[in-house]
Assembly symmetry: C2
Amino acid sequence: MRLKRIGIVGLGLMGGSAALALEKELPEATFIGFDHNMMHCKEAIERGIVSHCVENLAQLSDCDLIILAVPVDAIITILRSLEGLLSNETTVVDFGSTKAKISAAIPASIRRNVVTAHPMAGTEKFGPSAALEDLYTDKTVVICDIEKSGTHQRHVAEKLFTLLKMRCVYMDSEAHDRHAAYISHMPHAVSYALANTVMRQEDRESIVALAGGGFKDMSRIAKSNPAMWEDIFRQNKTHLLEAIYGFEKELKACRKMVENEAWEALNDWMQRANSLHDIL
Amino acid sequence: MRLKRIGIVGLGLMGGSAALALEKELPEATFIGFDHNMMHCKEAIERGIVSHCVENLAQLSDCDLIILAVPVDAIITILRSLEGLLSNETTVVDFGSTKAKISAAIPASIRRNVVTAHPMAGTEKFGPSAALEDLYTDKTVVICDIEKSGTHQRHVAEKLFTLLKMRCVYMDSEAHDRHAAYISHMPHAVSYALANTVMRQEDRESIVALAGGGFKDMSRIAKSNPAMWEDIFRQNKTHLLEAIYGFEKELKACRKMVENEAWEALNDWMQRANSLHDIL
């Protein structure tokens, strides 16, 4: 299969990291960028993430592979505007953190061109300067509704994720969104809430002096990009709310045990959480 | 000042790490262990954390410095049983994560012997095998109610924390417990609740396949020792509950914004959390 021209839509952490990793594996390929932020285009060219940038999506229509690595609402807008621009051989892979609304929004005429995927990788940083060559190495990518993609496109996507050294997991987009709500999206809401609680209560000096590894780890993802996470929360609203209710119930149970001084039950509850040891 | 004989009560992560770091700085000193877990004594001797162990606290009475690195309820029991065993020159430093109940429980006759401190360092691991020579390096230690300690003991404690390469911060034990509830204890409750929510909902395979760095970081401290944290929650109950209420209110505000699709307000709320960037 031909992987000579690769379009990277969104030159931030995710798109930039994919380009850096692929350039090592595909030294002959040309990487072409698209980003509405002109500073990001400039920075991505300077860092060697892409060779040049284009100003409209139509200029990517001769690409063999187009990676969409923009916030999830923008992915939907871009997929709609790609209608009529793609040949049968073009493969578009989106890297969005939600899957059901994206999968449903792909225009029927280009449905076979698109593989909708969620690479389970990231950091709280963003922009081309955050791109890391090994961001995806040894991580999992969830590929959704694969039966709706063309055979050629499926092969290109599998080749892409092999080059990124990722493990592929397949599920339907609804199942993905339910799992992602619990394992990724709700924990982000919790981290944002934790950061806001502590900053509301504590002054800067106390936070700097007293923050140990636990608080630093737990508040790290509260530094994530709000524009990106607003879109994810909007698109995965129902599952996210279910996961937040579940978490609220669990924390309330903890609070009640402390209020009622049910120390033995609290210890059992902590022991149950400890069993995560055996999994991760 | 003389630091020839150093007693380490509790040979886990905290006590073991202190001994490993001090041995490098005080090659002439003898380190003597005490731990009710005989396997820990054996392991600590094998790892060179202590040269030998004693079976009762009275055998530590000729130590220049005794470090108490056991769960916070056990610290109180041990401080009470040290009464009558210490000379005017002995310094006892406790490393407990709560301070008010410990400070208040120190018998008056040995109050000047004791410096009550909280090194803001740790990992989720425990036991002598978890000890790390550089656990304390560049971290903060909060020293409480220092006016109640003797001048000699104050100097020994400051020497100890200098040898451990720590920054000293001074506050009264009530203020410490309020800050620690927000910055350390409540985040542990949140992490335990997060781990239990996800394990209740998700099967092992999904957790392994889908857990990214965010969830791993946020659930890491849910692997902490329940016996240790049960005691901390008990001793700091009032401040912990206040911090949990504060967090619950903040997360509920987030949930309401998602329910009401108040996306702009949600974005602002996330932006506020983002400002943690400027602090940590």
